[in-house]
């Protein structure tokens, strides 16, 4: 059975990468307000994803206001696709096991 990527598999980080996979970029406020996390918690999880090379952090200024945006990197998208495939494998195997029990 394929192992699940533990960096992505963590529930909060899974939600972060799933959000980012639906768009090109999402800013800090959007991810924060959608997940309802604290700022420190979100930053901690994004930091792990960034160190794994899955998320890119873009810092800019909107006038004088700092702006932070996140995007999935190409390796991040590939890792997520592998994660979905692994999940499907597990579900398929689980379905077969359930049918055998019956």
């Amino acid at each position: 059975m394929t192992d699940l990527d533990r960096t992505i598999h963590e529930p909060v980080r899974l939600r972060i990468v799933a959000i980012l996979s639906g768009v090109d970029r999402a800013d800090f406020n959007f991810v924060l307000s959608t997940l309802g996390l604290s700022k420190g918690n979100l930053a901690s999880h994004v930091d792990k994803l960034e160190r794994a090379g899955y998320v890119e952090v873009h810092k800019s200024f909107n006038g004088k206001i700092p702006r932070t945006e996140y995007s999935l990197t190409a390796p991040g998208r590939a890792a997520l696709e592998q994660y979905w495939a692994a999940l499907d494998q597990i579900r398929a195997a689980s379905g077969q096991a359930t049918r055998r029990k019956r």
Binding site: V23, L37, I90
Partner: protein, 252 residues
């Protein structure tokens, strides 16, 4: 089997890919910018059309103070149109307003497809549309297209243009955007079928303004409502209960 739930962590997800789908749906239907643009466009169109009508009437009847007031309003409205049509001025102000409207929920960016249409095609499309607009206005002034048929005739090029625009902007916009050309075409068909959808003077200019801006605004509002549904569904899927600082590890 649920592999995505851990203790006091976030609620289980049936299919986490729903998060991605609802995020994209939300991003595609953030249409307040379109609604604001249409409202401003309608206000400016009214500010040109009505004072023009009453100004001409005032001039003919010798009411010069009213004439000058009307002329002043028209000049201001035209200046407003010019201001808004320049991206560095008006476009920037509209962008700031839209950013403020969405400030509470944050921002997402969804680009158009990586497979861009050839530049020549886009240029031809825009030029063709512009040419058709000019031609229909000229033919209308010359009386070669009866005013009653201006809108149905315009549907021949407005509908394909709006459809092409939506398809070119995919996936940055959703298929709901096709509601605008659909309503515009339906309006034309109803007019041809004899349904009384015309406005009496001095509101005759609404015969074109309502289909163009009214249906655009309606489409924008429906898309905005759908984006609220998408955001609600997304937050239901992704809301994380209050957690201590640092991460919650998932243990096997």
């Amino acid at each position: 089997m649920n592999t995505l739930h851990h203790g006091d962590g976030p609620p289980p997800l049936d299919d986490p890919r729903d998060i991605s789908r609802w995020t994209q749906t939300y991003a595609q239907h953030r249409s307040l910018g379109l609604v604001v643009f249409q409202v401003v466009f309608v206000v400016l169109a009214l500010a040109i059309a009505l004072p023009s009508y009453y100004g001409a009437y005032a001039y003919r009847s010798g009411n010069l103070p009213l004439f000058w007031v009307c002329l002043g309003v028209v000049v201001l409205a035209v200046a407003g149109d010019i201001f808004l049509s320049i991206p560095a001025w008006g476009g920037k102000q509209l962008e700031r307003l839209v950013n403020r409207l969405y400030a509470k929920e944050g921002h997402v960016t969804l680009a158009m497809s990586g497979k861009r249409a050839p530049r020549a095609f886009v240029t031809l499309l825009v030029a063709g549309f512009g040419g058709c607009v000019v031609a229909s206005v000229v033919l209308g002034f010359l009386g070669l297209i009866p005013f009653a048929y201006i809108q149905p005739v315009s549907a021949l090029f407005v509908v394909p243009f709006l459809v092409a625009l939506t398809l070119l902007m995919r996936p940055a916009v959703g298929y709901l955007s096709l509601l605008w050309p659909l309503l515009y075409g339906l309006h034309a068909l109803l007019l041809l079928a004899g349904v009384p959808l015309r406005f009496a003077e001095p509101w005759g200019f609404l015969d074109i303004l309502v289909p163009i801006s009214g249906y655009g605004m309606l489409t924008g509002l429906i898309a905005h409502a759908y984006s609220r549904i998408a955001l609600y569904r997304l937050r239901r899927l992704t809301r994380v209960p209050p957690q201590p600082e640092g991460e919650v590890e998932c243990h096997d």
